[in-house]
Symmetry: C2
Subunit: 349 residues, 2 copies
DNA sequence: CAATTTTTGAGGTACGCAACTAAAATTCTG
DNA sequence: CAGAATTTTAGTTGCGTACCTCAAAAATTG
C-alpha cells in the first residue's frame, strides 16, 4: 500500500505563515491579497513560507470577513413548456442553495421570444444586480441590451440559447449544431441500409437554437446518409395540437416516411399522430429534452432517442459562473461544460 | 414583466431573529439547531420570527464557528489504465478544492483487484479518517472490512465498482447492467436487419461491473435482437496486447462477425486488430470509457459508440457525499446520480 | 544631513455563528 | 413556604480572515 501525499492534520493559518516568515500578519495579508507596498525580497520570503506550510485561505473565514453579498437576476420565459418549467424549478432550487452563500436570485418571467420585450426587460433591470442569466435571443436589440449591461459592469451569462456576438461573459448551454449532428447520426444509423424520407419539425426557425440544430442535422444527413431524403423543415411553433396536425399530414402524404426529427417542443402532438397512424414502430422518431412526456414515449417505444440538456446542471452552472466572476475566482471549464446527453430507453435516469 | 419573489436586500442574522423574538442569541441558537432546553412557547415564538424574517444560516459563518475539519481516504488502484489515471487526477483536483473547505483527502494506491490486499488496506486505514471512498470488490473479506469501518462510524462510499451487500453509505457510479443494456440497444439498432455474430470482450468476469455489463448486454440482445448471435464472453484481462490477439483470432474465425462489445479496457488492442483486418467499417464496435485513445478511434470511425462515466463527476460526487454526511447535511440525489453517457462522434465533449 | 517617501509592524474591529458558562426563572419536594 | 433541583435564558468568547489606522523603521532623495 502506497500512501499518497499526506496533508497536514490541521491547516496552517495566516498567523502560522507570519511566524514562519518572520513578518507581521499585516504583511502576509498584503502579499497574499496582492496589495502593494511590500518589497520584493519580503514578498519572496512570505511566498516561500506559504509554499512550505501549504497555506490555503479558509474560504469560510474569507467570505465571512469580506461580507460581500450578490444579487443575480434570472430572466426566464413566461410561457412554459415542460423543459422551461423544469428549468425554472431548478433555478429555484439553485436559489435556495445560493441563499446560504450570500447569493440572492430573483426570477423574472418575460416573453423571451419577443426581442423588444426581452430587450426592455434587460434594460429596465434594477442596477442592484451584479449578474444576470438570460435565455437570449440573437437579435440586435437584445445584443445591445446585453452589451450595455456588460459595459455597466454587470456579468451576463446566456442560458440555453446564446447571443454569440454579444459581449456576454459566458454561454451556459449545449452546442446546438453538434446536437443536430448527433440526432442525424442516430437517425442515419438506426435507418442503416433503408431508403426513404425524413421530416424535420422545428418550433420556429427564428429561434437560433432550433435553426442550428436543423442545420447540423441536415449537414450530416446529406453528407453521410444519401439514402435518406430530408423534407423541408416544418414549423410547429412548439404547440402540440398544431404539431399533431402537421405530423398527421406528413404521415398521410409520405408513405415512405421513415424518420422524424423534432428539434423543438410539441412532442405530445407527434406521439398522438404517430400512434394513431399505426406506424409508430416503423418510423424512427428522435426529439429533444427529457420530460415526463418524452420519457413515457421513449419507454413505450414510440420515441427512439432523446437528445437532452440537463436543466439542473444548467441552472447550477449559471449560478456558479456568476458567483465565481463576482468573487474573481477562476471557473472549472470541465465542470461547466453542458453535455449533449443521449437517452435511450435503457439509460434513462 | 413579472418579478419573482424578491428576497430581502441583506439577509437577517441570528441577532435580528433574537431581537424580533424578544429572546437572547443563545435561545435562538438552540431552537435553530434543535437542541433541547427551550419551552414550547418560546420555540414557537422564535420559529415565527425565523419565518417572518426569512432567516437562513450563513454557511460560511457556521463552518468557521464549528471549526470542524474532515479527513477522507480515497483508495484507488495502483495499476492504471487510462480511466483510472484520469480518475486519480480528478480526485487530486477535488482534493485541492476541498482543502479550502477544511477537508483533506489522502489518496492511497493499492491493488484493488486482490480482495485480500484491498481488505487489509481498508482494515489498516488510520482511525483519523471520517470517511473513505473505495473502488470496491464484491468479496466477503472486502465486505467485512467495509462493514467494520461503517460500524466504527466511518462513512464509506463505493466508487465506480460497488459492494451492494455491504453496509456502505452510498454508491457513486453507474448502473452497470443498464450500461450493458444500452450498449446492446445501440448494437442491435446499428445492425438493424442484419444477421451475424457479436463478440463480447470483458476484462475479467470476476469483476462485478464487467459481469453486470455483459449480463445486461446479453439480456437485451437475446430478447430484442434474435437476428444477432452472441459468442461466448472472452476475457482480455484489460491488457491491450492480449486483447489484440483475441480480437484478431475472432475476426479470423468468424467471417460473419458484425459487432464487438468491449465492457472493459484493452481498447488499443481491439483497434489494432480491427484496423489491420480491414473490416473496421463493417464491424460495429462499442466500448466503455472516453479516453484519449477511445476518442481517437471514435473520431476515426473505427469505434462506433462509447458508453462513459464521468470520472470528474464521480470524484466530486464522492467528496460531496462524504462531506455532507459528516456535516449531517442532506444530499441532492439528482446531482449525485452518475449518468450513463453515450458518446458518438458528434457529441464528444 | 535633513526631508521625504516607501515599507513594515502592531493592533484593532467586524463578519455570523456555535458552544460554553453562569445566572435567572420555574418547578418540585418535604 | 423555604430550599433544592431543574429548566430556561443571557452573556461571552473564539473561529480565520479582511481591512483599517497609526506609528515606527528603512530606504531614497535633494
Amino acid at each position: 500500500m502506497t500512501a499518497g501525499a499526506t496533508q497536514p492534520a490541521v491547516r496552517a493559518t495566516l498567523e502560522d505563515v507570519a511566524r514562519a516568515a518572520g513578518v507581521s500578519l499585516a504583511t502576509v495579508d498584503r502579499v497574499v491579497n496582492r496589495r502593494e507596498g511590500v518589497r520584493a525580497k519580503t514578498v519572496a520570503r512570505v511566498e516561500a513560507a506559504v509554499a512550505k506550510l501549504g497555506y490555503r485561505a479558509d474560504v469560510a473565514a474569507a467570505r465571512l470577513a469580506r461580507g460581500h453579498s450578490f444579487r443575480f437576476a434570472f430572466v426566464l420565459p413566461s410561457g412554459s413548456n415542460s423543459f422551461m418549467t423544469s428549468l425554472t424549478e431548478q433555478v429555484q432550487r439553485t436559489a435556495d442553495w445560493l441563499a446560504g452563500q450570500r447569493g440572492f436570485i430573483d426570477i423574472h418571467h418575460v416573453d423571451v421570444f419577443d426581442p423588444d420585450v426581452l430587450a426592455s426587460a434587460l434594460e429596465n433591470l434594477s442596477p442592484a444586480y451584479q449578474g444576470v442569466a438570460v435565455i437570449a435571443l440573437d437579435h440586435p436589440r437584445v445584443r445591445a441590451a446585453i452589451d450595455e449591461l456588460t459595459a455597466r459592469g454587470v456579468a451576463v451569462v446566456t442560458l440555453v440559447s446564446d447571443a454569440p456576438s454579444s459581449r456576454r461573459l459566458h454561454y451556459v448551454g449545449i452546442d446546438n449544431p453538434a446536437a443536430g449532428r448527433t440526432a442525424a447520426t442516430l437517425m442515419g444509423r438506426f435507418l442503416a441500409g433503408q431508403g426513404g424520407t425524413v421530416a424535420v419539425i422545428a418550433g420556429s426557425l427564428s429561434l437560433r437554437d432550433h435553426t442550428e440544430r436543423q442545420f447540423g442535422f441536415h449537414q450530416i444527413l446529406s453528407s453521410e446518409y444519401p439514402n435518406l431524403r430530408a423534407l423541408p423543415v416544418i414549423e410547429g411553433r412548439d404547440d402540440s395540437e398544431r404539431t399533431r396536425e402537421l405530423t398527421a399530414t406528413l404521415l398521410a402524404r409520405h408513405a415512405d416516411l421513415r424518420g422524424i426529427y423534432c428539434c423543438g417542443a410539441g412532442n405530445r402532438g407527434i406521439a398522438d399522430a404517430l400512434e394513431a397512424s399505426g406506424r409508430a414502430r416503423d418510423v424512427v422518431w428522435i426529439t429533444h429534452e427529457l420530460t415526463q412526456y418524452t420519457r413515457r414515449f421513449l419507454v413505450r417505444g414510440t420515441l427512439d432517442a432523446i437528445i437532452n440538456q440537463d436543466p439542473g446542471h444548467e441552472a447550477r452552472s449559471a449560478a456558479r459562473v456568476l458567483l465565481a466572476h463576482c468573487m474573481e475566482e477562476p471557473i472549472s471549464h470541465d465542470q461547466e461544460r453542458i453535455r449533449i446527453d443521449i437517452f435511450l430507453r435503457d439509460n434513462l435516469p
